[in-house]
Amino acid sequence: MQAGRILGLPPKPETEFPVPAFFLKRIFQAFIAILGVVTLIFFLQRMTGDPVLLLVPQNATREDIEAMRSALGFDRPLITQYWDYLSGILLLDFGRSYVQNEPVWTLIASRLPYTLMLAGGALTVAFGLGIPLGVTMAVRRGRAEAKAMMGLVLAGQSMPTFWSAILMIMVFAVWLGWLPPSGARDWQSLIMPSIVLGLLSMATFARVSRTAVLDELEKDYVRTGRAKGLPMLRIVMRHLLRNAAIPVVTVAALEIANLLAGAVIVETVFAWPGLGQLTVQAISARDFMLVQGVVLLGATTAIVLNLIADILYSLIDPRIRMEGSA
């Protein structure tokens, strides 16, 4: 409603289907969120002190420093620098990494495929384990095996990724010698990082699909199927999963954002050359342009995925819209 007013659209009567207003409002909100993150990052970076001092050699004279400052544009008013930064971002220009002397976007683009590969592997693990676990926990609710699985899920949720990563390296790389301990040489290098990163989201998928299936189990069609004498497995596979999939798909969008954040630690442990490792290297080299670029990309991705999840959900379940605009 509010976004509609701001954009000069005529207010619509409440009784009408308020889809466009809700979407516009959410998109506007996501836009503000991204702007907020950009602003926060920009000012945080300028708060640290003089970026020029980090770049010049130790024995630089005052004149050298001043020359460098004006060459890089750090002598201009802050608001001008901010404006330039904002308008650059619109053109995918995230500035230059002064430490590596390359455009930030080039550095990010070279690492992006690795992180996407890792996220894909992790998502496969999370889905492949989480959904069957969740469905079984719901169907077998209250029995010993369901309780044991719940314990497993809780354990997965409480396991710090950096510990499970180290344990896996110890067992599968050092002791058994089955898998490479780190790096990205071939497809085998992807196995351990995917499992470690995936286990965390596995817990979320298991919980969500458990709740979703539990909700469906109470419905009439399940009882009809049982009365007809259909085996439970068939009811679940043929009828129930399709209906229970809705909340799971929405959560998947949110989980991808979490995976990207988790990749920072997992990539560091496994020396996987993706964006996470790039972030950590950039932090230790005090390469703020680069850190800012990666965090901005990560945050934007998260916000956009959030937006997609919300829109997906509201399309499927109109009640969400009502809550959202209340």
Binding site: I32, A33, L40, L154, S158, P160, W163, M170, T268, A299
Partner: protein
């Protein structure tokens, strides 16, 4: 007045189920160990002994036993583990308290005043929640410099919206209850209404959030320390111990294994207890 509850009391079992009990015991034990660290630790956590570097658990030197082995500088892993519990618990406790109080107050204000205050606060909540907390934490600590205070501030800054959202929703549902309206008509001020009548009735839900957040804060602190953005060396912290242990996986398995195990047990215990409290307060499950 205090005896008037909003909901009808439902019969609850007062016993702790056997699945939760051992984990409650672990939590209490870890708390005691952290508080009594100087008494419990067999050695000083920062004393180096270069003759006893990377020794396996059970190694003896100078009449002392390294029960869990020694690290790359010959420091006792067990003692560092015990002192590390202090850092984990203290950071988590401080950030949960700080973000909890701030988020609760802000959320209650949003629900109480409605109008533009509500819009402003709740949109800010949405925005902060849509950015992965660990990313915000990483960039902020990287810029401000790693220290105990900065880690706590950053964690609180990124987590307060969780409490704000719950406090907001709960306050909205309580604010129109007859007893709140009555005391409003009788002239109670906003401070009295919020603190005496609304807060006690929404505290349960907030405690559940705080418990689950506590586990998350422990993990975040360890993650930041693991990346070198936490409490700085030589102060022992589990995340930093794990980072060291990662470099010695092939030769000294004990350096990474024990802090990881401690972290896992602590977080698992907190999560189990949090789940239990939530089920107790709301048996239907959310």
């Amino acid at each position: 007045m205090a005896a008037t509850t909003a909901t009808t009391p439902r019969p609850t079992k007062r016993s702790i189920p056997w699945t939760v009990l051992p984990f409650a015991a672990i939590l209490v034990a870890l708390l005691l160990i952290a508080i009594l660290a100087p008494l419990v630790a067999p050695m000083d956590p920062n004393t180096q002994n270069l003759l006893a570097r990377l020794k396996a658990p059970g190694f003896q030197a100078r009449g002392m036993t390294y029960f869990l082995g020694s690290d790359e500088l010959g420091r006792d892993v067990l003692s560092r583990l015990i002192y590390g519990a202090r850092v984990s618990l203290l950071v988590a406790f401080a950030s949960v308290t700080l973000s909890g109080i701030f988020g609760t107050v802000v959320g209650m204000i949003a629900a109480f005043y409605r109008g533009w205050t509500e819009t402003l606060i709740m949109r800010l909540v949405d925005i902060v929640l849509s950015v992965p907390a660990i990313l915000l934490a990483i960039i902020t600590v990287a810029v401000l410099g790693p220290s105990f205070a900065n880690v706590v501030i950053v964690l609180s800054m990124t987590r307060w919206p969780r409490y704000a959202r719950v406090a907001y929703g709960q306050t909205l549902s309580v604010a129109n209850m007859p007893y709140v309206r009555l005391s409003r008509f009788m002239g109670a001020g906003w401070l009295r209404l919020l603190s005496r009548h609304i807060l006690p009735n929404i505290a349960g839900a907030l405690i559940v959030v705080a418990t689950l957040e506590f586990g998350l804060m422990v993990l975040f602190e360890a993650g930041l320390s693991f990346l070198g953005l936490g409490v700085q060396p030589p102060t022992a912290s589990w995340g930093a111990m794990l980072a060291t242990g990662r470099n010695y996986v092939a030769t000294a398995w004990w350096i990474a294994t024990f802090p990881g195990l401690a972290l896992f047990l602590l977080v698992l215990s907190i999560n189990l207890i949090g789940d239990h409290i939530r089920d107790r307060l709301d048996p239907r499950g959310r």
